[in-house]
Amino acid sequence: MSRIRTLLSHSIFAVLGVYAVVSLAFALIALTPDPGEAFLAHTLARHGQGDQIEAEIQAYRAARNLDAPVAVRYVRWLVDITVLDWGRSLETGRPVLSMVRDGLTYTFAYVVPGILVGTIGGIWAGLMSASEDRTRSRRGLSVLSYVAFGVPSFWVAAVFLIAVAPSLSWFPDRLPASGPFTPDGALFLFPAALLVGVNVFAGQFRYAQSKGREYLKADFVRQHRAIGISRPRVMWYILRVAAVPLLAVSLADLIAILVVTVFVVEFVFNVPGIGLLTYGAISDRDMPVVLGATMVVALTGIGVNFLQEVVNTLLDPRIGDDGGSHD
């Protein structure tokens, strides 16, 4: 396969993936009882209007186009999603898309710096400790990264808020209304970004270390060292070669770690990001928002995956020969 064909097949699978998720979401609504109907029936029954339940539910279904055949609803759903009409929140009446957008603004505001610092720092420290000849400091760093991964972030966050934050003069008590991209907002989001960074660091460090050790034994590294190329340059060459496997192995785990961290961090710090939005929607039983927020998570995953494949194809000249499969 040529590179173009490889890229094309990845794009096709990415789009198929998106529609698979969208279809799954539809199946969830279409094949399970609508909580809204049960709520309506319950409300009417409580107010002694039990005889109107049937008529009201008919009206409810008609208002939401639920009386159309499933196939028609499915096509309509696909079109709506594609043209970015994601419905309105049952709770607030706001368009789901704008709620999701607001949530993402907050989430990205602390997740992006956290990922950047964690990834760069983790890969750098991992490769460095792999090349380190003094095994004691290497083991120390390893143990530290194991522990950093093992301490539950919700506990760290909660202890910080309860025991540390009150004595910090710079830490705002609540999220400033001015939004995430202000000095106060940045201060408030700083601990959240730090937690994300530490989590990402711990994961990347371990991968980078084991990959680094693998490559340090490679022939080209021995050759470079033998002819006296400086260590930083050798590390750069290793990084260049290890980039593809590093990206490939860690990405899925990174997404899994990130999603949990995002939910937990936003829950504890009360950051109105995508995690808190989903959590709130679940406790409010607000189906459109739940679906919208979940689809955003899935779409982000598919998008990042696709980007990774593109980067792989550009970085690794061998891809196209074997479909880009590397451990």
């Binding site: 539950p152 899994a256 979940t294 598919i302």
Partner: protein, 381 residues
């Protein structure tokens, strides 16, 4: 889990390659007979006459028991019958204190998890609330009734409750031991679901290659973009929270990375010379899979699953903390949550389970990495 050491030394063991068919054959047989036996006993217990131990099984235990049995047959039994298979791991651990400690810790975790409900009763004692751990003290105004000695308005902890008690007088050390049961149940069932799915998908993709491989791996990609955590949130929204739902969702959706590793390893093995040789002399696919591929996959699978468990334990604790699971009393996540309510005063209630959870996670991570180094010939020192 001690059983994850299975086959770590498959590559070094002389009997692994020219494996007698008899060893492959008895396992499925024992498994099927054992599972049918359990099903029959469970049916008898619930419909005809209540049996002493099966009578008070929870719904989750009907998944836990078969999962344990699966690991006993495929994990523990081969190591006991052929101790040589695990020798590379013992050798590796004996030179590394951290790995040896992790091995011991995980073994203790399994033993405690199995025995905890038999020996520990989680009663509470309102006459011994908020006792601090031994060697520490807490203000007598905070605990109503000091079990130990009170000096200058400070109540000192006693050996009666070495790790202190909770706000309603539950012994924290007992809670933490009992929590091992909850964590073990969760990890075992999820692993028992992951292993067969991941092996099937990975072997089919790696062995058939071509479009089958491409499509299966793309499905894995898409599936991995929706983490189990999010799927559980939605499923609990639709069907209500339950422990059963938790393990099923995590088991059915966390196999992606394991499948990928199995697939890569299968690809690697398929290209090996002895598989080519077997093909040349006319061996069929079932024979090659059974004799040459599957036995060699046990190491990578054990490694991948061991490395997956820390993430599962963390996510489960996070879900309990956010009150998104129906966690039974004693689960580490739940104890951490209750402990944080009165955090600065009753610091021990949350700190002790956090430390135990953290050590367990570190132990599984270290063990997973050790298995990887032992099982992966490309990494050997």
């Amino acid at each position: 889990m001690t059983d994850t050491v299975t086959g770590a030394g498959a590559d070094d063991d002389p009997s692994a390659g020219n494996d007698p068919a008899s060893r492959v054959a008895w396992k499925p047989f024992v498994l099927v007979v054992g599972l049918l036996g359990f099903a029959a006993l469970a049916w008898y217990s619930s419909n005809v006459d209540s049996l002493p131990l099966l009578g008070d099984l929870r719904r989750i235990d009907f998944l836990f028991a078969p999962s344990l049995f699966l690991f006993a047959v495929y994990g523990v039994a081969p190591v006991i019958l052929e101790p040589g298979r695990a020798r590379p791991l013992w050798n590796y651990a004996s030179r590394r204190p951290l790995v040896a400690f992790s091995l011991l810790w995980v073994a203790a975790f399994v033993v405690v998890g199995l025995l905890a409900p038999v020996f520990i009763d989680l009663s509470f004692d309102l006459d011994a609330t908020n006792q601090s751990p031994v060697f520490t003290a807490v203000s007598t105004t905070f605990t109503d009734d000091c079990v130990g000695t009170a000096v200058d308005g400070r109540c000192f902890g006693t050996w009666e409750h070495p790790l202190g008690t909770t706000g309603i007088g539950r012994d924290v050390s007992k809670l933490v031991l009992y929590g091992a049961r909850e964590a073990l149940t969760f990890a075992t069932i999820v692993a028992a679901l992951i292993v067969p799915i991941a092996t099937t998908v990975g072997v089919v993709a790696g062995y058939r290659g071509g479009w089958t491989d491409e499509i299966l791996m793309r499905i894995v990609d898409v599936q991995q973009t929706l983490p189990a955590f999010v799927i559980y949130l939605i499923a609990s929204f639709l069907y209500g929270e339950s422990e059963f739902l938790l393990v099923v969702v995590f088991g059915l959706t966390s196999w992606g990375s394991v499948a990928r590793i199995v697939r890569n390893e299968t690809l690697h093995l398929r290209a090996s010379e002895y598989v080519t040789a077997a093909l040349v002399v006319g061996a069929g696919t079932p024979h090659i899979l059974r004799r040459h591929i599957l036995p060699k996959l046990s190491g990578p699978i054990a490694t991948a699953v061991t490395r997956q468990i820390p993430m599962l334990l963390l996510v489960e604790a996070a879900l309990s903390y956010m009150d998104l699971t129906v966690v039974t009393t004693g689960s580490w996540g739940r104890t951490i949550r209750t402990g944080l309510v009165e955090f600065p005063q009753a610091w021990w209630v949350s700190t002790v389970p956090v430390v135990v959870l953290c050590v367990t996670i570190v132990a599984f991570s270290v063990l997973g990495d050790a298995l990887r180094e032992v099982a992966d010939p490309r990494l050997g020192d």
